[in-house]
């Protein structure tokens, strides 16, 4: 136990109740995903096509982004290009300043998080209000999201109840989820109406039409953009897709993979500014074009930010989003962090049992586990190989080189399957802390072979 991840995971596990709830709840989301994906017989074909569209789009970015720009301009939008986070923040600020905006309402955007937009604007005196309920809760708590789709998954309703008493004047002690959600609805209504500008990210930007597509369940992106007439939409350039036929593929996969819904409640298509309003679109690079040259990791650009790889990850479920040092946790975050700054974020590379579950659920076929494995091979070159992981493989070698002991271990392994979870994941079991214990086969291959079951 030596990396920053495993230390933080240890802390998360101290609150046993919350940790168990977190694990079980995310597993339930994963199970919902399994159920709805099985209702679609062509599921694997969909994933193949999603991946193929992304491979095409991300290898034709110049052409598609220029086509998008041309169409967006023809639709009456303003288009900006931002090389990095600073430029993106400045562009947003200048638009707001030019319109004397004091109140700014945002819907959820991982890009804004990546670029530190809120802090930047607040330092300049602009009130930024997050409108996604989970994001708003965290904003008021001065905390960061711990999951990209379920940002407040680590927060208990009692904490939210107390927060709302202070912030929204709710009844003390009433922690009912419906009551609290509707209190926030009322409170944020005012914020939507008084805002002078609204911002959204984009799940997809369509080259052939110049429109941006935003998917939400709450309807907050639409509440925002239908009140003030000034709209800003920003996206990382890998969000580009060639045409609406591509949307047919992605909208079938996104919510099914992320939350187990057949589609998000709202799938909004913003093509033109509102009458008498303005639409400003910012295309952001911030390191993405550099990833194009990295054949080993280029597929990270396929990512739809659905969150499925987090929900399924045995390490993420048991360690929580805050145990990762990069702002995006889980399998995709491990890889994106390494691409951003390997010496800064290498701790996360250990937060993986190489069970490959993430890679199997990813709707856009990002080869997440292959990439993590690849990073691990490079840790030596970076000079940061973890001593505990070296010990682990040392332990495996010890067993492998002593066949009798190995056979004994394997024979007794099925017992683990029937043990209560508390015994498998007890405090003494450091391995279980970091990894999902694999289901051991009831009979080992050796035994079956001896009994002539294997031909």
């Amino acid at each position: 136990m030596s990396t920053k991840h495993s230390k933080a995971a240890g802390k998360f596990l101290e609150n046993k109740g919350l940790a168990a709830w977190h694990d079980e709840t995310l597993w339930m989301v994963r199970a919902k995903r399994d159920k709805v994906s099985k209702e679609v017989p062509e599921w694997e074909h969909l994933r193949d096509m999603a991946s193929a569209i992304k491979m095409y789009s991300n290898s034709h970015l110049e052409q598609l982004l220029m086509e998008f720009e041309k169409n967006a301009l023809a639709n009456g939008a303003h288009v900006y290009w931002a090389k990095d986070a600073d430029e993106y923040c400045s562009i947003v600020y200048n638009i707001l300043k030019g319109h004397q905006v004091k109140h700014f309402i945002k819907s959820k955007s991982m890009l804004a998080e990546e670029c530190g937009l809120n802090e930047f604007l607040e330092n300049k005196g602009i009130e930024v209000v997050e409108s996604d309920l989970g994001e708003r809760i965290l904003q008021l708590m001065h905390k960061r999201p711990s999951h990209i789709v379920l940002p407040a998954i680590h927060v208990k309703k009692e904490e939210i109840g107390e927060l709302f008493v202070r912030e929204m004047g709710t009844e003390p002690g009433n922690n009912d989820q419906t009551y609290l959600t509707h209190a926030a609805r009322k409170n944020l209504r005012r914020k939507f109406i008084e805002a002078e500008a609204a911002m959204t990210g984009a799940n997809f930007a369509v080259a052939s039409t110049g429109e941006c597509v935003v998917c939400t369940n709450e309807g907050n992106a639409d509440m925002g953009t239908s009140q003030p007439k000034l709209q800003i939409t920003a996206f990382g350039m890998e969000k580009i897709v060639p045409d609406r036929d591509a949307l047919g593929v992605f909208t079938r996969l996104l919510a099914r993979s992320g939350t187990g819904q057949p589609i998000t409640t709202y799938t909004s298509h913003y093509r033109k500014p509102r009458k008498g309003g303005e639409l400003h679109i910012i295309i952001v690079d911030n390191g993405r074009s550099r990833i194009l040259a990295d054949q080993e990791h280029v597929k990270t650009l396929n990512c739809l930010r659905c969150g499925a790889c987090m929900n399924t990850c045995p390490v993420y479920r048991r360690s929580g989003g805050y145990s990762y040092t990069y702002f995006i946790p889980g399998p995709i975050g491990i890889n994106l962090g390494m691409l951003k700054a390997p010496l800064h974020y290498y701790d996360n590379v250990s937060a993986c049992s190489l069970c490959y579950s993430c890679q199997n659920v990813c709707p856009a076929k990002v080869n997440l586990a292959d990439q993590i494995y690849h990073w691990r091979q490079q840790l030596h070159t970076l000079g940061v190989a973890s001593s505990s992981k070296k010990l682990m493989s040392g332990g495996m070698k010890f067993l492998m080189s002593r066949p009798a002991l190995f056979n004994f271990a394997l024979k007794n392994a099925p017992i683990v399957n029937s043990l209560p979870r508390g015994m498998i994941y007890n405090d003494l079991n450091d391995w279980g802390k970091e990894r999902e214990i694999p289901e051991f086969a009831k009979e080992s291959f050796n035994e079956m072979w001896k009994k002539n079951k294997v031909k």
């Binding site: 569209i53 959600t181 609406r244 079938r252 589609i263």
Partner: protein, 204 residues
């Protein structure tokens, strides 16, 4: 050099293998279809928290809306009338047109909005709306949403839907699948996060 040029140059310099654009026709052919689209649509809409009702012969749409939302006082409608077969039914239960208000914020407090659905998607209960009034807020701000949809305009899946949609003169359109929802507090599902708390699709 401008950032635009810098970025495009960086893309050119770093792009390696160029992949072909995939042919989606195989997938689109293979995609889910339903024998009874109408009942599938109703079933899925219910699953996502909405309700579908089928307008029967001689039944009046205004009565239906009033029965579904008896308490409603402020009722906005973007449509004047509906056509069923050879009869025309005027919408009489509405109290105002959304573009009558001065500011979009004035629509706050609308109890029901009656709007026109263009296409219904059976696999997910979503209905495509093309913005057809200036106050786009009406689709989101009202407490309940009533969507009028021609039952002949149901498609099986999103592939089919995307071949038909249009964002119209206003340059905006949205698929809405049931009421606004959130599970951000301990994963408990709550309807009515920011948009409509209740969605009824009336199939005519």
């Amino acid at each position: 050099m401008s950032s635009r040029e810098d970025i495009l140059q960086s893309i050119r310099r770093n792009t390696r293998v160029r992949y072909e654009k995939p042919d989606l026709s195989g997938l689109e052919h293979e995609a889910l279809t339903y024998e009874d689209k109408l009942s599938k649509f109703c079933e899925i809409l219910k699953q996502v928290g909405g309700q579908a009702v089928i307008l029967k012969d001689k039944e009046n749409v205004n009565d239906m809306i009033k029965a579904a939302y008896p308490e409603a006082k402020r009722i906005a409608s973007t449509i004047k009338e509906i056509k069923t077969g050879n009869t025309i039914q005027p919408i009489t239960c509405s109290t105002f047109h959304p573009d009558d208000v001065e500011n979009s914020g004035d629509l706050d407090g609308t109890d029901v909005a009656i709007v026109d659905g263009r296409i219904g998607v059976c696999e997910n209960g979503a209905v495509w709306l093309t913005q057809d009034v200036e106050q786009r807020a009406v689709y989101f701000i009202s407490e309940a949403l009533v969507i009028i949809l021609d039952r002949n305009n149901l498609v099986n899946n999103m592939h089919e839907a995307y071949k038909q949609i249009d964002t119209g003169e206003y340059g905006y359109g949205v698929f809405i699948s049931g009421p606004s929802k959130t599970a951000d507090i301990e994963q408990a599902l709550v309807m009515g996060a920011h948009g409509a708390r209740s969605v009824t699709v009336i199939l005519i």
